[in-house]
């Protein structure tokens, strides 16, 4: 069986930043990802980033990703395993992964989990028809593979992801017929909403999908108005001519692997669902197993980078590496995170972290 000092699962911003910190102090790192590239969600983010200046706000996601990749590639102590999906994890830090049909195992002294999140769906009739796609899938198809998801899109969800993917659809010359939102107000930043409104996209709140229409794939959608209790109101139905229904209705942390390992998990709605119980330094309940990024609670790339760094530092310390200025570095990162989570948009995260007990 292969061995490594520190195994990092997931090469998104969190995993790559954790890798950087570990490599910096001389640790030996194996970075594993199921995709054939590094970058995680950032591989498809062509828009200018929101977030703090220090974490590269107003640079494009794909450019920030390239900076992070350049920081670590060709490092003599880094091994990258691509196209490899981790499928099993055991308490003794043995990890099983598959490449194609082949099953492999690797044992690590420490494991950093940075596997990100999966996109949620909502129930409605025919929500399994081809053409009902998650927003991230639409984004991947367009921005990574250069393929249009369809011709006419109904966007569901007005958080930042729904707003941004709408804009990116327009950039790819795909029509967005309408954007609907179940709540009574737009969830994302108003700058993003104004931008797509100016481009002629109709945004309607208190609306949801009643059903998808089509035999083998989506040919239209039926939407309806919701009452205060989010129940559909009979008689308000409207048929939307579209071939894609794009779901931007939130993300849930990918905690199955940690559950499999027996780590303690807690349901925290504000953080997106089941999250691992961690301490301030991102240690889970299992010795030398850590969690960071979206997997430890849905936030954004800027915070994923910082929680990745904190995690890399604490793993380095636990592995016995001398970490220069550890206290100052961690204090600085915590302060930056606090700045990022400040204000009304950070309210939800702050509440969630309080429930988890990592924020007083």
């Amino acid at each position: 069986m292969k061995t490594t000092e520190c195994l990092i699962v997931g090469a998104g911003p969190a995993g790559m930043r954790a890798a950087k910190r570990l490599l910096d102090v001389g640790a030996e790192v194996t970075l594993i990802d199921r995709s054939d590239m590094l970058g995680g969600q950032l591989t498809k983010q062509t828009h200018m980033f929101f977030g703090s200046e220090k974490q590269h706000a107003s640079k494009r996601g794909i450019d920030i990703m390239q900076l992070m990749i350049d920081e670590i590639t060709n490092h003599p102590k880094l091994t990258v395993i691509n196209n490899a999906t981790v499928v099993a994890m055991y308490k003794d830090r043995v990890v099983g992964y598959v490449i194609g049909e082949q099953y492999h195992r690797i044992q690590a002294k420490a494991i950093v989990l940075a596997a990100g999140a999966s996109e949620k769906a909502i129930p409605f009739e025919n929500n399994d028809l081809p053409g009902v796609y998650a927003a991230g899938a639409v984004q991947t198809l367009m921005n990574v593979y250069g393929v249009k998801p369809g011709h006419k899109v109904l966007m569901v969800g007005s958080g930042n992801i729904g707003l941004i993917v709408t804009y990116q659809l327009l950039q790819a010359d795909v029509e967005v017929v309408k954007l609907i939102e179940a709540a009574d107000s737009i969830g994302g930043y108003l700058v993003h909403a104004s931008k797509i409104k100016r481009l002629g996209v109709d945004i309607e709140t208190n609306m949801s999908v009643k059903r998808a229409i089509g035999k083998d794939e989506v040919e239209a959608a039926e939407i309806w108005r919701l009452d205060e209790a989010w129940q559909g109101i009979e008689g308000t139905e409207e048929i939307i001519d579209c071939d894609v229904i794009c779901m931007a209705v939130g993300l849930a942390p990918l905690t199955e692997l940690l559950q499999q390992m027996g780590a303690k998990i807690m349901y925290v709605r504000e953080l997106g669902g089941n999250v691992p119980i961690i301490d301030k330094d991102h240690r889970t309940s299992i010795e030398r197993v850590y969690a960071c990024g979206d997997m430890a609670g849905i936030e954004e790339a800027s915070s994923a980078m910082m929680t990745g760094e904190i995690t890399g530092l604490s793993a380095a310390l636990d592995l016995g590496h001398a970490v220069e200025n550890y206290d100052q570095e961690v204090a600085r990162l915590r302060q930056e995170l606090a700045n990022l989570r400040d204000g009304p948009h950070g309210e939800k995260i702050r509440q969630g972290l309080k429930k988890l007990g990592v924020l007083s």
């Binding site: 199921r34 995709s35 054939d36 062509t46 494009r60 196209n83 999906t85 049909e101 999966s118 996109e119 769906a121 399994d128 028809l129 081809p130 053409g131 009902v132 796609y133 998650a134 991230g136 899938a137 991947t140 198809l141 367009m142 921005n143 990574v144 593979y145 250069g146 393929v147 249009k148 998801p149 369809g150 950039q171 790819a172 010359d173 035999k215 083998d216 794939e217 990918l254």
Partner: protein
Amino acid sequence: MRIKEHPILGFKPRETIKFTFDGKTYQGLAGDTVASALHAAGVRKLSESIHRKRPRGFYCAIGNCASCNMIVNGAPNVRTCITPLEEGMDVRMQHGKGRVE
């Protein structure tokens, strides 16, 4: 269904890759996954569900949900959204649990 012009992304010309889907020849481009190549060719139905034989396409496109499972070179339950396309691949629609025929 390829994007021809884009204000930010420059899609460079890419080599074509030939493969078959249910016996018919299709063309994808270097860098495609099996699912992206099929989608670009207008194929959105990738499998039929186990019990009620309902049509299924992909959902997450990043390997999370298994909604894109197909039979690739004889192997069932391959997540085609994260499987790089290769020259000569034999791709088939999966009916139900994907018994090897």
